[in-house]
């Protein structure tokens, strides 16, 4: 990754590019260029960006924003390499990454949460109860069947089938994997010591496990596979309901089982937000509090503080809009997100001011 683009290489690249013999078209098009921004990354944030961009485009016709659902991993790496101007990520960058790229900012734009979904024919209408340790045991292959004692004990009165659990995980570098594995790590020491957390983790080898691309791929794989389980971003709740999949109640730090709702997500935000540092890189997962839903997170825009003059202005303006208009109930309700608390908006604004 340490491939630098020296001035000489740039020169060769231009010469080579010219050999494409399409130079004439360059001039005519470039003249009427608008500011183009490429947003790429988190498939969890993608539905929200798709709501934002058309509305924003109407009031800001000079800016064209391409949205792309590629996974948080790509969001981070393409923002770092400059391929994309805005990287979208459910995960903040690691200390090592920040040390290597000190100019990259992690700016929360809104708050999201994650569902645990399953496809249990006949039981999808019920909210199964699951905990971090039980999920960790499933994903490390210690619990192989739906009617395992640990799952049964947690769900008295539910007739669980004796069927093998099909585990679905993300293949792309994913913020959903990041927050899901944080939930497992923070709640289950053995998982923390063996697998840990990250946007990509080394999934324990469990027979029959499927890899899926992005949240959409997770929904489709879960829908098409009876007895499967998956972790899916809240912005796909409508898709989950349409697909008729089940949604689990999760055990929080206080030991209570909760669903991701504005109330429980709000409680978790309340418990964690005040700890947020100035660079805003912090996990909100497994928050204390009786009402707190355990898997929530900041949705980050990953952006380089050093931009071209015109791009910097466009990016700043868009982010400011996202923090104000973009966090309005009209948008938040459609994707199941909750707005940033005022104190966090201030921190984000301070970071946005660094872009130039």
């Amino acid at each position: 990754m340490s491939m630098k683009t020296g001035a000489s290489r740039r020169k060769t690249s231009v010469v080579l590019a010219a050999t494409l013999a399409m130079g004439t078209m360059m001039v005519s098009h470039a003249a009427l260029a608008q500011t183009r921004l490429l947003e790429t990354g988190s498939s969890l944030l993608y539905p929200l960006f798709n709501l934002w961009v058309p509305v924003y485009g109407k009031s800001h016709p000079g800016v064209q924003i391409t949205t792309q659902s590629t996974g948080s991993g790509t969001g981070i790496s393409e923002a770092v390499s400059g391929i994309a101007q805005i990287g979208a990520s459910d995960a903040y960058m690691s200390n090592a990454q920040i040390k290597m790229h000190p100019a990259i900012l992690n700016i929360p734009l809104t708050i999201s949460s994650q569902m645990i979904n399953y496809n249990l024919p006949g039981l999808n209408g019920r909210h199964l109860r699951l905990s971090g340790p039980v999920l960790a045991d499933m994903y490390s292959g210690k619990i192989r069947y739906w009617d395992a004692p640990a799952v049964r004990a947690m769900n008295p009165g539910v007739r669980l089938p004796h069927q093998q659990i099909v585990l679905i995980h993300r293949t792309d570098g994913s913020g959903d994997t990041f927050i899901f594995s944080q939930y497992l790590s923070f709640s289950t020491p053995s998982w923390n010591n063996s697998v840990g957390y990250g946007t990509t983790i080394s999934w324990p080898a469990v027979q029959g496990g499927i890899g899926a691309e992005g949240n959409p791929g997770m929904v489709n794989a879960c829908k098409g596979t009876p007895y499967s389980i998956a972790y899916i971003g809240i912005s796909f709740k409508q898709a989950i309901e349409k697909a008729g999949l089940g949604e689990a109640m999760l055990k929080n730090r206080a030991g209570r089982f909760v669903l991701p709702e504005p109330k429980t997500i709000g409680a978790a935000v309340q418990a964690m937000a005040s700890h947020t540092p100035a660079d805003e890189r912090i996990s909100l997962v497994f928050a204390p509090g009786a009402e707190s839903y355990p898997i929530i997170n900041y949705e980050y825009a990953i952006v380089n503080a050093n931009q071209d003059g015109k791009t910097a202005g466009a990016v700043k303006e868009f982010f400011s809009w996202a923090l104000s208009h973009g966090n309005s109930p009209y948008f938040m309700k459609q994707v199941g997100f909750v707005p940033l608390p005022p104190a966090i908006v201030k921190l984000s604004e301070a970071q946005i001011a660094k872009i130039h």
Binding site: T12, S13, A33, T66, T67, I83
Partner: protein, 294 residues
């Protein structure tokens, strides 16, 4: 010969019996092989039906007139992108491919021509994702082009080059040597004979090869994913540092979405790509068939 005579000498009834059992085996053989062909044809029809029926239902005027917006909109940007990338690839690959093809055909027994011919065949077999990863490492990162038309076109050109080389060579080899001899006897030099006489004579077949290469590049995905990127908007005219959309990406990404509007885009894109590729192949076949008959 002794077996024949012995068969003939056997009593008639016994000969009949052997013939019958062997006939049954033969019949079974024909049935099995016919079944194989039937299975292939049925699967082919199945694929075409899925693509064309669902694709036709998904095609609307808006598909051609609007750009992609999130999980809906149209494919105008992707259609343009596919054309730009493929034309770019051909602009790069045709001069080199035709020149190598000419060399391989006109000097068929030189060691260099044999090497070229052999390596062209080997290059055809290099997986397209390998070319794509090479493109990512070399062009996106090392050259610093980011996702770009240039990167995508060059990756596609690498894939097309051997096709064009081999089809050009074949086309020139079909030009009769009488024509060459006649041209030489009139005092023309090598360049005149090849470029002025042989190449024009072979031109329809050469162009057919170029068309087939176009079909290949329109259908490719793997070499473009990490070189051309994707864009929701029309091409801005820049060759580097500006990603571009293309139809095969739309197939791959939008079929994976749980939204019907996105799936429709995927089917529409599949319809366009498959339709285009098949039309080119049918056309090419007609041209080649006609020339073979002449």
């Amino acid at each position: 010969m002794s077996t024949v005579t012995s068969t003939l000498e056997r009593p008639l009834s016994k000969r009949r019996q052997i013939r019958l059992s062997r006939r049954i085996v033969s019949l079974g053989g024909w049935t099995l092989s016919g079944l194989c062909l039937l299975v292939l044809s049925v699967l082919m029809v199945w694929i075409l039906m899925v693509v064309f029926l669902r694709g036709a239902g998904a095609l609307k005027w808006a598909t051609f007139a609007t750009i992609t917006q999130g999980n809906g909109g149209g494919l105008k940007n992707a259609i343009e992108g596919t054309l730009v990338l493929s034309v770019g690839a051909l602009l790069l690959a045709v001069p080199f491919g035709v020149a190598s093809g000419i060399y391989a055909a006109e000097y068929p027994n030189s060691p260099w021509a044999k090497t070229i011919r052999f390596l062209a065949d080997v290059l055809v077999g290099v997986p397209s994702i390998v070319v794509g990863y090479f493109g990512y490492v070399a062009m996106v990162q090392w050259m610093g082009w980011n996702f770009s038309v240039a990167g995508g076109s060059i990756a596609l050109a690498i894939i097309c080059l051997p096709y064009i080389c081999r089809t050009t060579e074949l086309a020139l080899r079909q030009v009769s040597n009488d024509l060459r001899d006649a041209a030489y006897s009139l005092g023309a030099n090598e360049r005149r004979v090849v470029l002025g006489v042989c190449l024009p004579a072979a031109m329809p077949s050469v162009l057919t090869g170029v068309l087939l290469a176009l079909a290949v590049s329109v259908g490719e995905t793997a070499p473009l994913l990490y070189t051309a990127g994707w864009s929701n908007f029309m091409w801005d005219g820049h060759l580097i540092k500006s990603p571009i959309g293309y139809l095969t990406y739309a197939i791959w990404t939008f079929i994976n979405e749980p939204f019907a509007s996105a799936n429709r885009l995927a089917y529409a894109a599949a319809f366009l790509v498959t339709g285009f590729v098949l039309i080119i192949n049918v056309l090419a076949r007609f041209v080649l068939e006609r020339r073979a008959r002449q």
